[in-house]
C-alpha cells in the first residue's frame, strides 16, 4: 500500500496537471517543507486564496539552495526561491537570475533593511544557547578567557557557521583572528550542520552551542521545558535574515508576486514563529506567540550589508582556518 502511494506520488509529479490550474514552484530548504516546518500550513493557506497549486521543492539547506539554483540556471522551473540568508544574497544576485520584487512592506526588523531583489520573511539573532544554571560570558573575549566548552557549526558547510564567522568579523574587525585563537581551546568540535551541533549540546558534550535566541522558545513551547536560555553579548548579536526572491525566468510572475506578498501577510507570518522558530519579518496583528515574550532580546544587533558579507567571507574563512588549525 505504501508502495502504491509512493508510485502514485511519483506519477502525480511526472504527469503535467490535467486541470488548467496554474502551478507555482517554490524552491526552498529541507526543514521548511518538512511535516514539522511551516510548509504544510503555508501551502494550505495560500492554495485556499490563490486558486493555484503551490509546490515546494526541497534542496538541503540555504547554501545548497543557491547551488541548486545555479545548477538549474535559467531552465529552472522554480518561480520563487525562499530561504537564502543575507550572507548569500550577494552571490545570489550575481547570478542575474532574480527579478526585482517591487514591494515596500514596513518590516519589523531590528535594523533598517533595503533590497530590491530579496524580501525578508523571518529573522533571528545568532546566540550561544546554554542551560539557565550556567553564568554566561558577556562577550567573545570573556568566552575565550573562560574554560567553557562550545560546539559550533562549520562556516564552510552551514549558514549558522558562516553567520558566526561574520559575527566575529563585524564585532572585532582586524582583531577577529586574535579572538578565534582565544576561542580555539573552548571549541569542542565543529559540526557540518546545525542539528549535529545542537544534538551534541543537548547530550551534554558542551556547555554552549551556536544557535539562535529563539531556540529556547522551541523547548518552552513544544516541550514545556524552560531550562534553556541564550547568552546576549555586549558587542551585539549577529542577525540572520532569511529572504525570498522571484526568478526573472518565472512563467508565473504575477502568482509569484502574490506569493511574496502572502508570505508577509498575517496568515503566513503567524505560522513562522512556532514552526521555523524565528521572528516574523512583519509582526502579525495578534502579536508574537506566547513564550516569545520570555526570550532574551539583544540590545545591539549586528548585520553586515550583503556586499560586505560577501567580500569578508573569503579572508575571514582563511583567518578562521589558520587560527583553529594549530
Amino acid at each position: 500500500m505504501k508502495t502504491l502511494g509512493f508510485a502514485a506520488g511519483l506519477l502525480a509529479i511526472a504527469a503535467p496537471a490535467l486541470a488548467e490550474t496554474p502551478v507555482l514552484h517554490v524552491l526552498t530548504y529541507d526543514s521548511f517543507v518538512s511535516e514539522w516546518g511551516p510548509g504544510p500550513a503555508i501551502e494550505t493557506a495560500f492554495e485556499a486564496e490563490c486558486g493555484c497549486d503551490l509546490r515546494f521543492t526541497a534542496a538541503g539547506d540555504g547554501a545548497a539552495l543557491l547551488a541548486r539554483l545555479q545548477l538549474e540556471g535559467v531552465r529552472s522551473e522554480a518561480d520563487v526561491i525562499l530561504g537564502l540568508d543575507t550572507s548569500l544574497t550577494a552571490a545570489a544576485r550575481r547570478t542575474g537570475l532574480f527579478a526585482p520584487h517591487g514591494q515596500r512592506p514596513a518590516l519589523s526588523l531590528p535594523v533598517p533593511f533595503e533590497d530590491a531583489e530579496f524580501l525578508p520573511y523571518d529573522w533571528g539573532w545568532f546566540a550561544f544557547v546554554h542551560d539557565r544554571k550556567l553564568d554566561p560570558p558577556k562577550d567573545f573575549a570573556a568566552l575565550a578567557a573562560s574554560d567553557l566548552k562550545i560546539v559550533i557549526e562549520d562556516p564552510r558547510s552551514s549558514t549558522p557557521g558562516l553567520g558566526l564567522l561574520l559575527w566575529v568579523k563585524a564585532a572585532y574587525g582586524d582583531r577577529a583572528a586574535e579572538i578565534w585563537q582565544g576561542l580555539a581551546d573552548n571549541i569542542v568540535t565543529v559540526t557540518p550542520g546545525w542539528s549535529e551541533a545542537y544534538g551534541m549540546f543537548l547530550d551534554g558534550e558542551a556547555d554552549m552551542v551556536l544557535s539562535y535566541t529563539t531556540s529556547p522558545a522551541s523547548h518552552l513551547i513544544a516541550e514545556q521545558d524552560g531550562s534553556k536560555t541564550a547568552a546576549l553579548f555586549d558587542e551585539g548579536n549577529y542577525l540572520q535574515v532569511e529572504v525570498m526572491g522571484k526568478l526573472a525566468a518565472s512563467d508565473q510572475p504575477e502568482l509569484a508576486d502574490r506569493f511574496l506578498a502572502f508570505m508577509l501577510s498575517d496568515a503566513a507570518q503567524s505560522v513562522l514563529p512556532t514552526t521555523n522558530w524565528m521572528y516574523p519579518a512583519l509582526t502579525p496583528a495578534a502579536g508574537l506567540p506566547e513564550g516569545f515574550e520570555a526570550l532574551a532580546r539583544p540590545v545591539k544587533s549586528l548585520l553586515l550589508p550583503a556586499d560586505e558579507a560577501e567580500a569578508a567571507r573569503g579572508p575571514a574563512l582563511d583567518e578562521w582556518r589558520a587560527a583553529l588549525a594549530r
Binding site: 511519483l10 518538512s34 547554501a63 564552510r156 558562516l162 542539528s195 558534550e205 588549525a325
Partner: protein, 504 residues
Amino acid sequence: MARRAGALIAAGLAALTLAPVAVVMARAGEARLAPADLVALRFTITQAALSALASVAGAVPLARALARRRFAGRGVLVTALGAPFLMPVIVTVLGLLAVFGRSGWLATLGLPPLPVFGLGGVVLAHVFLNMPLATRMLLEGWQSIPGERLRLAESLGFGPREIWRHIEAPMLRSLLPGAALAVFAICLTSFAVVLILGGGPAATTVELAIYQAIRFEFDLARAALLATAQVAACGVAVALAGLFTLPAGFGAGLDRAAALPAPGGWRWGMDMAVITLAAAFLAGPILAVALRGAPALVALPVPVWPALGASLLVAVIAAPLAVSAALLMALACTQGARWLEPVAMLPMASSQLVLGTGLFLILFPFVSPAAVALPVTVIVTATMALPFAYRILLPEVRRLEADYGRLAAVLGLRGWPAARLLVLPRLRRPLGFATGLCAALAAGDLGVVALFATEQGTTLPLVISRLMGAYRMEAAAGAALLLVMLAFGLFWICDRWGRGGTAD
C-alpha cells in the same frame, strides 16, 4: 558469458561514476588546487590509512578468536558484527559520544574519557564502524579453509604456531590487503564522522573541500578536480593491495567439516579477552542508541511510516541488483579480465556529492529530477553498494575458479547450469552476507539522493534529518533506531540464509 556480462557491467559502472565527474568538470573553466586542498588531501589519506590499519589490526585477532572458539552467543555476536557498519553516521557518532564523551558512561564511571575529538576520535569512530566489517570478511577466510588441510595439520602434529605459519598466514595474505583496501576506501570519502569528531579545520578532508566548493563557491571545476584526486588516491591503494595479495593455494576440499584446533592455556585466555573487549566496545554505543531511541519508538510521528516503506523498497530492489552485478564482475575478473578490479572499486572512492551533482546536470535538461527520484535512488544506491559486494565475493570466486574452474571447463559446465550447480551453492555464504550488507546500506543511504528528493518519496534517513532540524531530537532518535532495526533486520535475514548451509 560471465566475461562479456562482467565487461558490460564494468563499462556501465565506469560510465555511471566517471560521466558525472566529466560533466561537472565541463561546466566550468580550468581549476587549480589551493595549498589548503593539498593539506586536506594529506589529512584524508593519513586518517584513512590509520583507520584501515587499526581496523584490520583489531580484526585479525578477533576473527581468529571467533574462528577457533565455540561459546554461547557466538552466532549472535557474529551476526551483530554487521550492525555498526549499518548505522547512520550521526547516530553512530552520538552513540559513541554517549559512551566515550564528556558526559558519557565512561566519564560517569570515573574513568578518564578517551580523546574523542581530533584524529584519535576520527580513527576510533572508523574502527568502530569498519573493524566488524573487516572481521566478517576475514572470518569468511577462516571458514573457507578446507577441513582436509586442518586434518593434515593435525596428523603432522602442528601446534598453533605452525598452523599460523602454514595455514592462517597464507590465508590472510590472500584476504587482508583487500579488507584493508575496503576500509581505506570507505574512510577516504567519509565526511560527517571526520567533520563532527575532527575537532576543527585541522581535520579537513577532501570530501569537505568538495562540499565547500559546490555549496558555497559553486566552483564545479575545482570540485571535480578534488573528486578526481580522491579517486586517484583510491587507485593507488587498489594497486598496492594488488601487489600484496597472493592466492592462498589450499586446493579444493570435500567440504568435510573440521573445526580449527582450539589450543588451551593462555591462548584460550587471550582469545576470550579479545572477544570480550571487542563485544563491549561494539555493544556500548549500540546499546546507547537503542536506549535513546526506545522511548520514542512507541509514538513515532506518522510520516516515518511511508518513509520506512520507501527505504525498504529501495533496499529490496537495489541489493539484488548490486550483488548480481558484483558476482558477474568477480567471475569475469577471475576468468582473466583483471582490468575490472579497479573499475569495481570506483564507486567506493567517488565523491557522493559530485556524483549526485553530475547526474543532476545530465538528467535535468530532459526530465524533472523529482520524477526520476525512485529509479535514480535505486541505481545510485546499487552502484554505491556494489564495491562492498564485490570485495566480499572476489576471494571466494577466486577460490571457486581455482578449485573447480578446470573441472567445469572439462564438463562444459557453463551459463545457467553452472550458476545453479556450482556458483550459487558454493557461494551461498558470501552471497548471503553481501546481499544483507547491500540491502542494509541501501536502506540507510542518503548522500546522492538528496538532490532528487521529492515531497512524496522521502526516505527514512531524510525524515531523521528533518526531525533533527525541527528540534525533535527524541523523535529523531526513535526514527534512527527504527532505521537501524530495518537495516539490521534486512542484513540478518540475508546473512541467516547464507549461513544456513553451513555448520554455523
